[in-house]
Amino acid sequence: MATSTTPRDVAAPDRPPGAGASTKAPSRRPRRTLLPYLLLAPAIVLELAIHVVPMLVGAWMSLLELTQFHIRDWSTAPFVGLDNYRMVLDFDSAAGAELLQSFWVTVVYTVASVGISWVLGTAAAVLLQRPFRGRGILRALFLTPYALPVYTAVITWSFLFQRDTGLVNHVLVDQLHLFGDRPFWLIGENSFAALLIVSVWRSWPFAFLCVMAGLQNIPGDLYEAAAMDGAGFWRRLRSVTLPMLRPVNLVLLLVLFLWTFNDFNTPYVLFGGSAPDQADLISIHIYRSSFKTWDFGSGSAMSVALLLFLLVVTAGYLLITNRRRNDA
């Protein structure tokens, strides 16, 4: 998500062309056709000012040699065309190789985190469908990681992962004796696993929330009919629940993907501002290389390249899922 917590908004719901109030009273039509735009104006102005204009400026910056010498006065920054792109996407150079490495780390991280979160969220929602004692408490408990501010959740996890004072090593080493040596979790090879666990902990409740909302739209008699036909748990899941959840899942998976791929907060707070190579997600990579070298031109070029990649993936995803829907 562009911003920490709000990736869940990508679905543009299609609305049937209903009869709005606008079709009536022809005498007042001129005012009425203007009114919706007036109502929208504040939202449009804000979106333009905070999202669209800065993004265009960012695209422009990616074409400039915007190093520390020019940052105070942009007019002195030479226009260099696509040079920044050539530089950051040259995977034979050190900087390019680091970016490629960071890209692959992010891909694996995203696929694993989204996959696991979706499975856990769906499992919990399906298993909480039937009323039983303690269901309300479990539901509230499962939603808590989602409601917790990112930084408090991730700071707590970084305490759990401390080598000498953390819970994880206490359980694995002192109580279960699985390792002879106390492993490091926040530096070196294990940092990827640590990052993934924290990410899943934070995002599966969102999958749970969405699937739970989707399940409420499945009429109970579908299950009755399936059960009468002798369908067991897995059969009902495969033939009733999952097909009915398809519209929700289409949106949910896309949103989780974009959210996770752009994730900055989790590694930033977990590793205290600098991620180890094994967990160097793309957002934090761009952030650090921009502020380390003060080369905002190449930083912007990397951001634009990232945006183009996400656009292509999203467009492909929507095309494929739409075609399947039309075939069905």
């Binding site: 869940r8 109030a21 669209v52 919990a124 929330l209 951001s303």
Partner: protein, 279 residues
């Protein structure tokens, strides 16, 4: 439709494991907040042997937590109120009018949410700084700048969810009001809004949570006097010492209100998501 014994046990096992996964960090947050500093600097213990509330006292003086808290409260509440107000008008337009560009608006607003924050962080930072130099309007390192930034973060989802809510309110009610001579704005305030109160509350809480939890922009756009909790809480780890008991105590204090608010209103969220997502 009866549950078989195997299904029942599978359900219990899976739900128990998930509950443990969720509970462990929460438990550590609470129990470590109750430990003295010495105990969190030594090997981990499950139970606080010498429980104390000292961390809840000390946390206010180790870092200026009070100031961070006030900053976060001001920024998040003002951003939430403005965001919801703007969203209400926009959602009313999208829900009740057919106009040219309606589809484009929805798609554009929602797609801004997929942009990597890092892409507009640097430009926005430079725009705020330059605007300050040119006009004297200080948006960089001020609460106002943060408020304006954050209110756009929650705007798209708020609009989307409110459109879902407004759509579920029968248009017959609008028309009845119009027959009585009510204009569009009176229709919005006297007919549509009262029927959508749960949705408005849910969206307000969501907007507040969004601003309360944001890290990336807070880390670049604030200075010592406008710093929010998201950045301020990192002050407990100094070069020499990490006050883990105080971090956990502070985390607990700043989490409780939002978690409580969210859990109290979660069914409105589910209803809003159902209205929006399932179409």
């Amino acid at each position: 439709m009866r549950e078989t014994a195997a299904e029942r046990w599978a359900r219990r096992v899976v739900l128990t494991l998930l509950a443990i996964f969720v509970l462990v960090p929460l438990y550590v947050m609470v129990s470590s907040a109750l430990k003295p500093l010495k105990d969190v600097q030594n090997a981990f213990t499950w139970w606080p042997r010498r429980p104390t509330l000292q961390a809840f006292v000390d946390m206010w003086s180790t870092v200026p937590l009070g100031r961070y808290l006030v900053n976060s409260l001001v920024v998040s509440s003002v951003a939430a109120v403005f965001s919801v107000t703007v969203a209400i008008f926009a959602a009313f337009a999208v829900s009740r009018y057919r106009f040219r560009g309606r589809g484009l608006f929805s798609v554009t607003v929602l797609s801004t949410q997929m942009f990597p924050g890092i892409l507009f962080l640097l430009p926005l930072f430079l725009i705020y700084v330059n605007l300050g130099n040119a006009t004297g309007i200080q948006l960089y390192a001020s609460r106002t700048g943060l408020i304006i930034t954050y209110l756009t973060f929650s705007l798209p989802f708020s609009i989307w969810m409110l459109v879902g809510y407004f759509d579920s309110i029968p248009r017959g009610l609008d028309e009845a009001a119009q027959v009585d001579g009510a204009g569009p704005l009176r229709t919005l305030f006297q007919v549509v809004l009262p029927a959508a109160v749960p949705g408005v509350i849910a969206v307000t809480v969501y907007a507040f949570m969004t601003a309360w939890g944001e890290v990336l922009f807070a880390s670049v756009m604030t200075n010592e006097s406008s710093r929010t909790l998201a950045v301020g809480l990192q002050g407990y780890s100094t070069q020499f010492n990490v006050y883990w008991n105080q971090v956990m105590a502070a985390s607990l204090v700043v989490s409780l209100p939002v978690v409580a608010g969210f859990l109290a209103l979660q069914r409105y969220f589910v209803a809003g998501l159902t209205a929006g997502a399932v179409k």
